[in-house]
């Protein structure tokens, strides 16, 4: 615990504690609508943090992360649908599938020295390839989709059957857990290697940093965490379609929170998720009011434009400076 909090000013710890308390108490404080929005925020914060490990920490731009979420979701949901295997066991299969996929993508990318745009395109190609594959795979329901049975007024934690509150706490635990995990990783030797690789991979290689291994770890950890998000997603919405599970808009969605919030930071994805989801809801209200369909996405696009032009490092680093709680880069 002391290693975790080493170097963090007490002020920040207190703020984090207060935030955590608020989040834990949220279901009692918010109505159904507010809770559903907060659930979305935490989901994007979690999955964004998972993506952040690969991009922000190891510097690999993945635009096909939906591949892992989709594989995870389908693995667990498929097992539950066909064999009644609950999600707590299903998640193991989900993570395994994602780790294999991530391993393949990562290995191919690194072995063939693909960087930047080329690597991003490779990730897109894999996700699309898988999407079409699932579109034609009967076991997973094909493009007709996979539907899970829903029960009312049932609290079955073992099978994740229950109301929004259950899913809220699960995603809260996942998000907080991921946050802590990232902190631990950043402070560790692996984290320092990642920093070295990000700054200058060739120099790092020259001084003996095991570059390939570190990059592979980044990809597989990121993939594994994303798969868990996919499982959660599958059981929350109770239906999966290849188009929405593996589609490129899903992949792009995953990247928005951490990029807007602040790449490579711990708190960035959470802040980014709040900004994006909050903006989304405000714009929805605005477009209802204005009676023009699709105006929300235009506002959204404008907001993205403004943020990337004036706060390219993300909203959180700027906010943190203002609040005096900058994250110390190890």
């Amino acid at each position: 615990m002391s290693r975790l909090t080493a170097g963090v000013p007490p002020r920040v710890l207190v703020m984090l504690a207060v935030l955590l308390a608020l989040l834990v108490a949220a279901p009692a404080l918010l109505g159904g609508y507010g809770l559903s929005v907060l659930i979305l925020v935490l989901y994007f914060a979690y999955v964004g943090q998972a993506w952040n490990i690969m991009m922000g920490f190891a510097g690999q731009l993945s635009l096909g992360h939906a591949l892992y979420a989709g594989l995870g979701g389908y693995a667990a949901a498929g097992l539950y649908f066909h064999y009644g295997i609950g999600p707590w066991a299903g998640v193991v299969a989900a993570v395994a599938a994602a780790v294999v996929a991530g391993g393949i993508v990562g290995y191919l990318g690194f072995r063939f020295s693909l960087a930047g745009v080329y690597f991003a395109l490779l990730t897109i190609a894999f996700a699309e390839f898988t999407r079409i594959g699932f579109d034609n795979w009967e076991w997973a329901g094909g493009s007709g989709g996979l539907f899970l049975k829903v029960e009312r007024n049932v609290l079955d934690i073992a099978n994740l059957r229950g109301g929004p509150v259950l899913f809220y706490y699960v995603i809260l635990i996942l998000a907080v857990g991921c946050f802590v995990l990232c902190r631990v990783l950043l402070e560790s030797k692996l984290g320092r290697y990642w920093l070295a690789i990000r700054e200058d991979a060739e120099a790092a290689q020259a001084v003996g940093v095991p570059v390939l291994r570190c990059k592979m770890l980044a990809v597989t950890i990121s993939a594994a965490l994303t798969a868990v998000a996919g499982v959660w997603n599958g059981f929350y919405y109770n239906n999966l379609f290849p188009e929405t599970a593996f589609g490129i808009s899903r992949s792009i969605e995953i990247t928005l929170s951490p990029i807007i919030g602040g790449l490579g930071t711990l708190f960035g994805p959470f802040v980014g998720a709040i900004v994006l989801t909050g903006m989304g809801e405000i714009f929805t209200d605005l477009s209802d009011w204005l009676h023009i369909a699709g105006i929300k996405q235009i506002f959204y696009g404008l907001a993205l434009l403004v943020i990337v032009m004036y706060r390219p490092a993300g909203v959180w680093p700027w906010l943190a400076r203002r609040l005096g709680v900058e994250e110390r880069r190890s």
């Binding site: 991009m55 731009l61 635009l63 191919l108 063939f112 693909l114 930047g116 745009v117 080329y118 991003a120 395109l121 490779l122 897109i124 190609a125 894999f126 699309e128 390839f129 079409i132 594959g133 579109d135 034609n136 490129i248 808009s249 792009i252 990247t255 990029i259 807007i260 790449l263 023009i292 369909a293 699709g294 105006i295 996405q297 235009i298 959204y300 696009g301 404008l302 993205l304 434009l305 990337v308 032009m309 390219p312």
Partner: protein
Amino acid sequence: MTSDFLLALAQAIAKGLLTGMVYGLMALGLSVIFGVMRVVNFAHGEMMVVGMYLAWAAFSYAEVTPLISLPLIALLFFALGYLLQRGLISPFINRPEHQQFLLLLAIATLLANGALAIAGPDSRVVQLDSQFDSYEVGPLVFDAVRVHAAVAALAIAALLWLFFTRTRTGKAIRAAADNHMGALVVGLDVRRLYAFTFGVGAACVGAAGALMITIVPVTPFLAAEYTLLAFIIVIVGGLGSMTGALLGGLLIGVSEAVAGLLLQPSLKSMFSFGLLIVVLLLRPQGLLGRKDAR
């Protein structure tokens, strides 16, 4: 291998070549932009869709066929591309990829949803008089509209080739692409060149859009797949190589058609993505790209 099947195969290849020509023109724009500036234009498909809408509007409201409105649209896109580059994109050239990606994603969102707000979600079609005509060469049937579009695309590509090899600006752009530092040393105004390049790339895309609308109906949601398709073609054909982009277009057009014939048609695109993966791994500079062009 029955003669029926061989005929179907030949037909598919012919069709693929024609469609591939227009794909190639679309990808040319991307190749020019990426080859010279290393900017990944994630708004490429959206730009083409806007081009398609403009051509459709000219046809529907002013009775001007796309082949005539094409030069105007290309010119307009050139101007807009130039301004976009000078105004918005220029500061991002040396910034990290994810920021470029976000910038162009924002532009793409604005373009696609602007089109949705203005033109509505209905799909729009240009119905030319020659829509259902075809040329018959022996047992093969060539769709008239596609033939015209392919010829136009080829003509535009030829013009571009002349531009890049015969004009001073064209040669300067190629020089800047080959060797950025060298170009600066020699005194080329790289900023102006980049803007010009983006303009040229945009003009290609606009022209491709004017041609594409004669073949395919347009909706605002078409854009994402065209962006992806353009990237696949450019990677397969080779970045920075004009012939590569055209060749890539032809290859993808034909492979889609043949894959559709041999495999289940719904697996057609899977084949294209598989091809992309293989090319990325085995020959990332593409078929005609140069090894050091990355």
